[in-house]
């Protein structure tokens, strides 16, 4: 009898030891859930722990990132002169492209006898700041990246991020010394856009699926609109997030959608998203973030 009791006692003891990891799991899970609840309630608040981790991790990331670039760069040119010349020429090309773009648009405006609203000339007129891309934290599921400028450099949430070629995305989270950019490819993104020539409003949606073939879906084009292939698509006046007149890309074939109430198309983005090292952030905001 006593033996049996002893045995059950030992069994109990063993069981207690076996259960211990579950207790730890519960404690950690509750902690994590509390964090989720806290961050959902105050998305912008940063705790001491978060700051400490960032203080340690991010500066090294910025340095490492600079080391990493030469390895990646496709044209390794050790001669400084060549690089300088290359950079100069690239700047020149971008300048010319912008000039051409502006010219094209300017002419359109004349043709339309300066209609009631005007597209903004270019984002050059806005105050911009350049930033370097320092990493991609969200794995394969999201199209986001980190840039090396944050709240201290005057970056705010929802600021537009562009490349000289066109729209990249917007600033989705801001931290002290860096910020997270969500690109227009991300599934959560949808940009209110406009055909430059046909003046037809549309939506450019992010899609991981379609971007594999190099395009993004354009939806909600008015059924009556005379949108054409190869028309330039820019951000529209009515977008709440994006400054109007930023080039997004070029439209593809236009087809009526299943319901026949609107037309759909595809968009080839102007920016090569596989190869972004530096971006410009437009410091002007369409609508300041109110939460």
């Amino acid at each position: 009898m006593r033996r049996k009791q002893k045995k059950t006692f030992q069994e109990k003891k063993q069981r207690r030891i076996q259960w211990k990891p579950v207790y730890l799991l519960i404690v950690l899970a509750v902690l994590a859930s509390a964090m989720i609840a806290g961050s959902l309630r105050h998305p912008e608040r940063n705790g001491i722990a978060q700051r400490a981790v960032r203080f340690v991790v991010v500066p090294v990331q910025k340095c490492l990132n600079r080391i990493g670039i030469p390895f990646h760069s496709e044209n390794r040119m050790p001669e400084e002169d060549l690089q300088k010349e290359n950079a100069m020429l690239r700047d020149r090309i971008q300048e010319l492209e912008q000039e051409q773009f502006r010219y094209e648009k300017g002419q359109k405006e004349l043709e339309r006898l300066r209609k009631l609203y005007q597209l903004n000339d270019n984002y050059e007129q806005y105050d911009t700041t350049a930033a370097r891309v320092i990493g991609k934290t969200d794995g394969n599921w999201f199209s986001t990246f980190l840039i090396d400028k944050g709240a201290r450099d005057g970056i705010e949430k929802n600021m537009n991020v562009v490349c000289p070629e066109g729209l990249v995305g917007y600033v989705s989270n801001v931290y002290d010394t860096y910020a997270k950019v969500t690109t227009i490819l991300d599934e959560s993104s949808s940009v209110s856009a406009e055909f430059l020539e046909a003046e037809a409003l549309c939506m450019v949606n992010g899609s991981l699926q379609q971007i594999r073939s190099g395009t993004l879906p354009i939806t909600n084009i008015d059924a009556e609109a005379e949108a054409k292939k190869n028309d330039t698509v820019v951000t529209s006046q009515i977008s709440s997030k994006y400054i109007p007149g930023i080039k997004i890309g070029t439209a593809g074939e236009i087809t009526p959608d299943d319901t026949g109430l609107s037309q759909v198309s595809t968009l080839v983005p102007a920016v090569n998203f596989r190869n972004i090292h530096e971006v410009l952030i437009i410091k002007a905001q369409k609508e300041p973030d109110v939460e």
């Binding site: 964090m35 961050s39 978060q50 599934e187």
Partner: protein, 166 residues
């Protein structure tokens, strides 16, 4: 003291993995393997019953502190993955290679499914086949392959630091 040493060396390994994951992999590969998952699963299966959870928690905290929205989601996910991996700890004798690799592959798939159902299901529910064949399975293959390469290294770190404790 030796526990502290183990903690510090594991933290260092996590940091190195973080830099590889966020800087070098996205530049070199079209789809990155999930190094964090490799660490969590291997430490879970090789270390003490608590290792997996602790490593998962640390990895999650790191990711959440850098840029997590909502902050805490990665912590929860990786902690649970660490716990599940440590469940297989008892049946594992250190020489068998297949069990940790198989578990790693399964966990990567489970991780992909979790992200899919949490973030994508309600918006793009019908496209599961696309996400399965273009993101989850390729990521699983990449992760498994890198896991095979890193197995010896991680088990060396683990064995060296764990011996000092016991």
């Amino acid at each position: 003291m030796s526990k502290l040493k183990r903690g510090i060396s594991v933290c260092l390994v996590i940091l190195i993995a973080y830099y590889f994951q966020t800087i070098f992999f996205p530049r070199l590969l079209p789809l990155s393997p999930n190094l964090f998952l490799i660490l969590v699963v291997f430490f879970g299966i090789m270390g003490t019953p608590y290792s997996g959870m602790c490593v998962g928690f640390a990895v999650g905290i790191l990711l959440d502190c850098i840029a997590g929205a909502p902050c805490g989601a990665a912590t929860l996910l990786y902690t649970v993955i660490g716990y599940i991996s440590s469940l297989y700890h008892r049946n594992f004798y250190g020489t068998s290679f297949l069990r940790p690799i198989g578990l790693l592959a399964a966990m990567d798939l489970a991780y992909g499914m979790a992200v899919y159902f949490l973030c994508y299901f309600f918006r793009h529910g019908i496209h599961i086949a696309f996400y399965l064949f273009h993101i989850m399975i390729p990521e699983m293959i990449y992760t498994t392959f890198v896991g095979i390469l890193l197995y010896k290294l991680i088990s060396a770190v683990n064995n060296r630091t764990i011996q000092e404790i016991s």
